[in-house]
Amino acid sequence: MIRLVITRLVFGAVVLIALSIFVFGLFFIAPGDPARALGGDEASAQLLAQIRHSLGLDDPIYVQYLRFIDNALHGNLGFSYHSQESVLTLIAERIPATASLVLGGVVVWLLIGIPVGVASARSPGSARDRLGQGFTLVGLSFPSFVLGMLMLFVLYFLPRQANFTLFPAGGYAPLSEGVGQWAWHLVLPWFTLALVNAAIYARLTRGQLLDVLGEDYIRTARAKGISERRVVYKHGLRSTLTAIITQLGSDVAMLLGGAIITEQVFNLQGVGALAITAVTAQDRPVIIGVVLLGGTFVVVANVIVDILYGLLDPRIRLA
């Protein structure tokens, strides 16, 4: 078990290093010149050279890279070309919005997806099952930004026309303004982020649970005379959980992508929105910082998922 954790951590570190090299290297094949971006079009060659020097762009690549890594490990991710603020600060102030969105989204999709999948699996082929599968299919196919925009239209704009406010137009209300406000602003974004994934998980749960319910140990459980409900939840779902957790690990990367889109649609000033503005402004340090942060998040989440999986399955835990 311990070796599992160590292996995953080591691998995670490898991923991060690869990622940092990739991102860092990217900018050396970029056509733009940050010195010019900072200095403006009229800057003289001398000024440009000065800027370049102050940014440390004169040194060979590997030196720059090592300096960068060294800084990063000390918590310094550089400064935005644009606003001169520390990248770390910039990101830090955006995290609450993104975190609220992402964590809430995960909760919502698990709360919708798993029960729908279980309900379907308990009576395969029934009307309930077909309904569930229909919803799942539509949910799967709904691109999240389309859903978001449609929801805003129906649940914000139309009520607005009728002069009452059902849901806000977007924007993020920090917890300091009260949980109610915070949640109210996040309901639509949560559903936008969650619906596609809820559908995926409903389908996954249904498939896995049906497989599990065909296993011999379920037959034994029934032969023991315990209630069908207990058979499905305690025996069946427990085995399905491991598959769901594994999938969750793979989906973390997708989560971040979804967050970026949702932030755009609902105008949430989160890390994703920051990334988009940085891209348009060619603000390298910020982009590097965001990508690295995203990568770290994915790696950490994967390690947690792997550990959880090992804990859940005694065959691995006690190996």
Binding site: F145, M149, L150, L210, S250, M254, G295
Partner: protein, 332 residues
């Protein structure tokens, strides 16, 4: 040879009705034809392909080019796009361009990207998965780690980074999509090949002296047709949505070229769609219907090719004894 060896008497089925054994290809087609949803989806996709191919015809018929801006006829005096009407069947966008025509050209982009990216990604995934699964050992170790690595990368963020460096373009979009899509099918193929490799018929082929390439081509791959076909079909809608997402974020195809995602992004700009609902409903709707159609088709194909995948709700018992016994022996 003694009589005991003669194969079953020809009258084996005689007193009972002959149970007709149908070929598997015929069965698949029958099942597919029975699935009305899949047929409907297929029909929609055909229509969409025709729509895309006829984009220039649509432009000619309406008299509106794809990038042509009609500021006087297309926009109201306040500069707001006009809704669906006589001249502009599906309305105009913020620059006075014909939505219908742009939808047709956008269909081209989506279908092109969707199909090309899926096919290439599938080819890569199948190759890598097969090599990793069949040869095992170091090859598997390295390739599995590679797959894990690529799957750990937050792809949209990386796409962002790449695009910011190279500038958006169609080729870049396709490459990015391929790069992040092959892993899923790679993993599936790898695990299937791994389990196939343990099957006795592969061992039999080896013991007959068949070389690895021959075994892969004759014995392994034919058993993979079902997952390959199904997963490739399922990848198409993902690729289409991925492209639309990239365009939506401004990272995809370069304007003024039309793309459904791009059209939606324009609609979002300044919340324009609130007053111009057609700017979101039509591109969003066609995007939704396209993904839905491909997903339904994929499901239908999977159910037709591998009916065991459709749950009937019970387990047929007889085979299990044999299977579990031989598995147990194999594991010994």
């Amino acid at each position: 040879m003694s009589d005991a060896l003669i194969v079953e008497p020809t009258g084996a089925e005689a007193p009972t009705r002959r149970v007709k054994q149908r070929g598997s290809g015929e069965l698949t087609i029958r099942r597919l034809l029975r699935d009305r949803a899949a047929l409907g989806a297929f029909g929609f996709i055909l229509l969409l392909i025709i729509f895309a191919l006829c984009a220039p015809l649509v432009a000619a018929a309406t008299g509106h080019g794809m990038a042509q801006q009609f500021r006087d006829t297309g926009l109201t005096s306040a500069g707001i796009p006009k809704g669906p009407g006589h001249t502009f069947l599906l309305g105009t966008d913020s620059l006075g361009r014909d939505v219908l025509v742009r939808l047709a050209y956008g269909a081209r982009v989506s279908l092109l990207v969707g199909v090309v990216a899926s096919l290439v990604a599938a080819a890569i995934g199948v190759t890598i998965g097969t090599i990793a699964g069949y040869f095992g050992g170091w090859a598997d170790l390295l390739l599995s780690r590679l797959i894990d690595l690529v799957m750990s990368v937050p792809f949209l963020l990386c796409a962002l980074a790449l695009v910011s460096v190279r500038g958006p373009s169609l080729t870049l979009s396709i490459c990015v999509i391929i790069f992040f899509s092959w892993t899923h099918i790679g993993r599936v193929v790898r695990s299937q090949v791994l389990s196939l490799r343990q099957r006795e018929f592969v061992e039999a082929a080896r013991s007959l002296g068949s070389g690895p390439v021959s075994i892969i081509v004759r014995d392994v791959l034919p058993n993979l047709t079902v997952p390959i076909v199904v997963y490739t079909t399922m990848m198409i809608p993902s690729s289409i949505v991925f492209e639309a997402t990239l365009s939506f974020l401004g990272l995809g195809i370069v304007p003024p070229a039309a793309s459904w995602g791009g059209m939606l992004s324009e609609a979002l700009n300044g919340s324009l769609y609130m007053v111009a609902w057609w700017m979101v409903v039509f591109p969003g709707g066609i995007l939704l219907l396209t993904t839905l159609a491909f997903n339904i088709l994929g499901d239908g194909l999977r159910d037709a090719l591998d009916p065991k995948a459709r749950r009937v709700g019970f387990v047929w018992l007889t085979r299990r004894r044999r299977a579990s016994r031989s598995e147990k022996k194999a594991a010994a």
